[in-house]
Symmetry: C2
DNA sequence: AAGATCCGGAACTCCACAGTATCGTATAGA
DNA sequence: TCTATACGATACTGTGGAGTTCCGGATCTT
């Protein structure tokens, strides 16, 4: 094809080829992205190589030139998954733990997590058979979120907002676990209300803070932005 | 075959047949049990009708005489799944919430839950495509456990051990959710230590009780205003 | 322009499994 | 013993998808 849709992915086809022998497979990103999409929509078993190829506007042969099997392709796709904006440097810092936790609830973030959960659902059948897949999936999908929570909670400990005796290692998994459960099994939406309920009904009480009221004297409760 | 293994399932084949036209499919229980076993071991997509038939020492035709398709068989198997010993009448009553929660941790119960989780993992790929399956699975596998937790917590509220302001509806889902996450995604064992950690590190603190000690003052938790 | 390289598309093979059909046999009732 | 019924085993068919091969065309190199 001579031209690409302008909207989708930027034309990266004819970039590196001038380096003579350097011809790596420049279509990899599109293909991996397509694989993730199909994975989220149909699950691993429902997904066919043709679907991925078609979605990526690639030939099936191209996929097999790069990955030896469907399994490898999916593992690669999950491993190369972009992680979203969960870098510790970019996490909110509102002065209170509740403020931070609430500030992490953004439409963008929710949507991102939802898509990841769909992917996770599609991978479930594969997890028990392929341990490396289980590992890759956990690392790419849920661990980052748990780590972000742990960071926020640890900072709250450091500033004296919550007690160091709190079981942060366990508590930072509450939100990811219950969100996963809600999406994968209950099939209910993980929306803002649900997350607020988790924060005020589980996390903060467990940390010795009251739900949506300002605890001791520490000010700065971020207004739940409506 | 003339004889059956004595150990396995009691010979229920030649029981009802004397009722003339009453010949219902007396092998159903064995077949459904076999289906659940295979489901737990290989997942829905890896499971074949032959596996189930072989496991149940039945012919493939027998399965198709009873269920029109693989889908229906699995749905039936999950729906008919025995629920374990979670009847409210038989729940522990030790006098304290912590005592009750800890008393629910029994090897039998853990093992049972683990098997259910394996089945749930095998069903995941089916859930999005078959809503009735999602519903059946949730009802049969996790809801009973959440309901048991809710019952124990509500009793604790009634006896004044914890505040009525606590978000029991959410908290009764903490254990099932985090156990599911740990089994399905982290692939770690849900053992006694983990469950105790949940009770003392999340549930009781969130309910205003201290982890492993009895809160002398039993301070009423201030209701989340507004 | 000529040659080389890579890609998209499509046709092909092979195999596993869903679902069907057939047959021999065990059991129950007469 | 004779008949009927349900079952187990097995052979068979059809289909869908993994993986392979081939070809025409596009792009870059020389």
């Amino acid at each position: 094809m001579t031209q690409l849709e302008p909207g989708a992915v930027a034309d990266s086809t004819a970039v590196e080829t001038k380096l003579g022998r350097k011809r790596d497979h420049t279509r990899d990103p599109e293909i991996l992205a397509a694989a993730l999409e199909v994975l989220a929509e149909t699950g691993f078993d429902g997904m066919t190589i043709d679907m991925v190829a078609t979605r990526a506007k690639a030939g099936k042969a191209t996929l097999y030139r790069r990955w030896p099997s469907k399994n490898e392709l999916v593992i690669d796709a999950v491993a190369c998954m972009k992680l979203g904006d969960l870098d510790q440097a970019r996490l909110p810092d509102t002065g209170t733990l509740r403020g931070d936790l609430v500030a992490m609830i953004k439409p963008r973030s929710i949507e991102d997590a939802e898509k990841k959960m769909q992917i996770m659902a599609g991978l479930m059948s594969m997890l028990s058979a392929t341990p490396e897949m289980a590992h890759a999936a956990n690392n790419a999908i849920v661990k980052p979120r748990a780590e972000a929570n742990r960071f926020l909670m640890q900072r709250a400990v450091d500033r004296g907002e919550i007690s160091p005796a709190c079981d942060i290692d366990t508590l930072c998994l509450v939100t990811p676990s219950m969100a996963a459960y809600r999406t994968l099994i209950e099939r209910k939406p993980v929306d803002r209300d649900f997350l607020i309920t988790l924060i005020d009904g589980v996390l903060l009480p467990a940390l010795g803070l009251r739900g949506d009221a300002d605890p001791a004297g520490r000010g700065k409760v971020a207004p739940p932005a409506s």
